[in-house]
Amino acid sequence: MKEKSAVNAYRVEIKGASKHYGALKALNNFDLTIEPGTFTVLLGPSGSGKSTLIRSIAGIERLDSGRITFGDRVVADNGFHMAPEKRDLAMVFQDYALWPHMTAFENVAYALKRRNLDTTESNRRVNEALERVGLSAKGPNYPFQLSGGEQQRVALARAIVGRPSLLLFDEPLSNLDADLRERLRVEIATLTREIGATACYITHDQSEAFALADQIGVLRAGELQQIAAPEEIYRTPANRFVASFTGISGSFQGTVVEANGHKVEVALGKRRLECRAPAFLKVGDAVEVLVRPSATSFKDRNSNSLPATVLDVAYRGRGYEHVVECDFGVISSVFDSDSNARGSKVDIYIDPHHCLAFPSEKLAEVAAPIEELSSSKK
């Protein structure tokens, strides 16, 4: 393969992808399109099929059925399977997958073999990649001589050094501590956008997804629940699962007492709470109210309030996070610049825009077609 002067980012299209492991459906007639040069994060819990999907895109797994194309090149199609090494992509693995018998330099250089470069150019590229991830002095070190963060940086350098058309990330930060995770996240975001490749990243961490993505796809049981820009996912989740998986502070059970399009009023015992309803709801529906962390406050006074007792308070540097208990349940992550003592009585104010009402579990099945209809219209 001849070396390319610039990255030709792929448009990745997946149509009707299915994969079973025995009776388990890992992917169920899955469709997804990733536009060239964009950064897509696939978010989902364990068993949602995100690893199977990214491994199928890489060519490590064979689909049972369905089609994957990179641009206008078919790489998998109902029995046809292009080997991973032919797909011109690179991948960063959760466990780094560095080869322990090779130095950091050799690990990175390995990914350049397919480019058939001369030694001088190859060495230059490897040094450049190592320098880019801040490891120019660590080239001669073996993986066991590097820290976890350094190892993942080598894996990142290995992925970008060949300037691939598609970069895949398989939960690359999940084995790192919080501080390192944040620093490497920034590096991944900047480096990927610098080289201009299409990127597909899987994670179960919603904060990572929101920080990195141009678009987020939320997966559940092998099916795509919603794919949209991070802001839309947060503000207008397609269903209860998407809402709960992208961050909530607490939830209450109630009944709709007033419905006006996407605005509803929900009775929680004798109290009423104004909420937003992404799905169609009518008066009398039993609902579950999901409260986003950004909805809660002690100070932004409005009529949407609940009396509560502080259960716990934790200092977070720029302020305090509280866990409070009201008559209807517990709400966590209530931020305030001042501390409220444990056991003190408070009023918690809830922003109706970030307080979402969904049909409660019994009604969920009935409401599902309506949700799909509403999300497809968006």
């Binding site: 491994r55 890489a58 060519g59 490590i60 206008d72 090149r73 078919v74 199609d77 029995g79 046809f80 399977h81 292009m82 080997a83 991973p84 090494e85 032919k86 797909r87 992509l89 690179a90 991948m91 693995f93 959760q94 466990d95 997958a97 560095l98 080869w99 322990p100 018998h101 090779m102 130095t103 050799e106 390995y110 990914a111 073999k113 397919r114 073996y142 290995r158 060949g162 895949l168």
Partner: protein, 592 residues
């Protein structure tokens, strides 16, 4: 796993963007290393064994009788000479198992839990015992204690000891000696996992020393049963002692009875097969018991937080006593046979009725200059090189299948068949080959390979495959599959990824497996004895032929030279590995 990358047929990338029908078809046809692997496994392992053993139930199937199904072949197995031999084997197996386990337990305790000075000698002894076949240990003892043997020449009266040696006591002792290293490794591993926290937990909750000891014993129990099962299986399938002490002492055991049966005219294959199945069943029962025990508590004592147990500091008297015990054990297990072999090889006139004997190197000189004595060593070296290479190549694939994350049918089949094949006594294996490759329909297929070096090499490889595969499973299981995946997505084909990533990661275990297979095959007895091509005896047969011709000096000189040669090959291989292997390859094996 990405092994199916296609070593033989590389799948093509379509030139057009849409894959053509042809490329779809080619993509579906995958002649992979796995296909080659399965074909070889079928021909060298499955067919010979299954065909031979099936004759016990269906003599007519292979033209060995008139009945399509009968259990009549099993009748003689439990009566007459076969029945007596089987009973002897059972008793010997049980006694050897209990004895080896007891000695191994005491040694594990002394080596791991005390500071006795002689413990440093033990690890070398263990590996030497692993390498030494049982017939060589038995021959060493024989040379010392036989009539007109070394000790009698030296003026000692050894008749009472000789009478013990050439009977159940001697046979049992050698089987026990051969079983000690197996038992020791199992028990020592379990004992290392028993950190001091278990004892401390008993003591801080009010338990006495005795109660702490009881808890430790209970935790060790699975490994003790496991050790006994292994030694039992090794003992009842052993052919080395059967062909030496047992045959000379006329104390029949099952494996020697099988050997005699196969040498009778006409050969009664159905009864041999029935005896083999009975023997195999006993071995499998023992190994299943071992597996059951290993799934029990012994592994659960190991955790990342296990603290090493405290080493008991012995008094001066304690050190002297325990060191004395270890040295005596070392002398019995290795010292006496080695002394017997070396002294016999240097004694001119041993085995004759001469009254004058001299000590010199003339026997060695004869071996090196006589092609009749030298050729077996050369022939066995060639065979061992081939067999070790084939066996280790197949074992690498088998171990990869066994450690695959997917629980496929292929994996379960390999797992079961290799477990069963580990249990298959070498003598049964060899008889299976004789039977299968003499069948009319095999010859009609044009496979005239009986009595050829080709068949012997295949038999050696197949015989070594199960244990070699098992020895690689642990190392292969440590390789994260993502490393192969990483090589594939970064541009390497399946074969290249295998050679670039997997092979370097298990380079040292592969080398060790190769050397163990090489050494084991070089000195292998039962398969050699039954399958060697006319006029080309391997080392083990060469030694036996010399001894049968009363050339005790020449026979023992070949024996000593063979062991030295095996050690030289091991030394050369390690030297070359340490000198020329890339630094990353060397580091990995060393850390394990």
């Amino acid at each position: 796993m990405a092994l199916g990358g296609g070593l033989l047929v590389r799948r093509r990338v379509p030139f057009s963007n849409e894959p053509s029908n042809l490329s779809r078809v080619i993509n579906r046809i995958r002649i992979t290393p796995m296909a080659v692997f399965w074909t070889l496994i079928t021909f060298i392992l499955v067919i010979p064994i299954v065909l031979f053993l099936s004759v016990a139930f269906s003599p007519r199937l292979m033209s060995q009788g008139h009945q399509w199904f009968t259990l009549a072949s099993f009748k003689p197995v439990f009566s007459g000479a076969y029945g007596v031999a089987l009973l002897h084997s059972l008793i010997l197996g049980v006694v050897a198992a209990v004895g080896a386990m007891t000695i191994a337990l005491s040694m594990a305790f002394l080596v791991i839990r005390t500071n006795t000075p002689a413990r440093i000698l033990w690890n070398t002894t263990i590996f030497a015992l692993f390498l030494a076949p049982s017939y060589l240990i038995a021959l060493g003892w024989q040379r010392l204690f036989e009539q007109h043997g070394i000790l009698e020449i030296m003026g000692f009266q050894v008749e009472p000891i000789r009478n013990l040696l050439y009977g159940p006591v001697g046979i049992c002792m050698v089987l026990m000696v051969k079983g000690i290293p197996f038992a020791y490794l199992v028990i020592a591993n379990a004992m290392r996992g028993l950190g001091e926290e278990f004892e401390q937990a008993v003591r801080v909750h009010g338990g006495s020393r005795l109660e702490a000891f009881k808890v430790m014993a209970a935790l060790l129990m699975p490994s003790l049963f496991s050790a006994m099962a292994i030694v039992f299986a090794e003992a009842i399938s052993d052919f080395g002692v059967a062909s030496t002490l047992s045959s000379v002492g006329h104390f029949s055991v099952a494996t020697y009875q099988l050997y005699q049966g196969i040498n009778a005219i006409p050969v009664n294959f159905p009864v041999s097969a029935a005896t083999s199945i009975t023997l195999l069943s006993l071995v499998i029962l023992a190994i299943l018991a071992q597996n059951r025990a290993l799934r029990g508590r012994s592994f659960r004592t190991l955790s990342g937080r296990t603290r090493p147990a405290t080493v008991t500091k012995l008094s001066f008297f304690g050190k002297i006593t325990t060191s004395g015990y270890i040295i005596i054990l070392l002398l019995i297990t290795l010292g006496i046979p080695v002394f017997g072999a070396i002294s016999a090889s240097m004694l001119q006139g041993l085995g004759s009725l001469l009254s004058h004997y001299s000590i010199n190197f003339s026997n060695y000189s004869r071996v090196l200059h006589s092609r009749f004595l030298r050729n077996p060593l050369i022939y066995s070296t060639e065979m061992s090189l081939i067999a070790a290479t084939i066996a280790v190549s197949l074992a690498a694939i088998a171990s990869k299948v066994l450690t695959s994350a997917r629980n496929s049918r292929g994996k379960r089949f390999v797992d079961f068949f290799l477990l069963a094949a580990v249990a298959l006594p070498g003598i049964v294996f060899a008889i299976g080959y004789i039977f299968t490759y003499n069948l009319k329909f095999i010859n009609d297929l044009g496979l005239h390979i009986y009595g050829t070096s080709f068949l012997l090499a295949l038999a050696y490889s197949a015989n070594a495959l199960p244990s070699t595969s098992r020895s690689l499973v642990g190392n292969m299981g440590q390789i994260q599959e993502s490393m192969m995946d990483a090589a594939r997505v970064h541009g390497s084909g399946g074969a290249r990824a295998w050679f670039d990533v997997t092979m370097p990661l298990i380079a040292r275990p592969l080398l060790i497996a190769w050397l163990l297979t090489f050494s084991g095959t070089l000195l292998e007895l039962p398969v050699s004895e039954l399958l060697y091509p006319p006029g080309s005896p391997p080392v083990a047969v060469g030694i036996e032929l010399s001894l049968a011709g009363f050339d005790f000096g020449g026979g023992t000189a070949i024996e000593v030279l063979s062991i030295l040669w095996a050690l030289v090959v091991v030394a050369i291989a390690f030297f070359l590995f340490n000198r020329f292997a890339p630094p990353g390859w060397k580091r990995l094996g060393n850390q394990r």
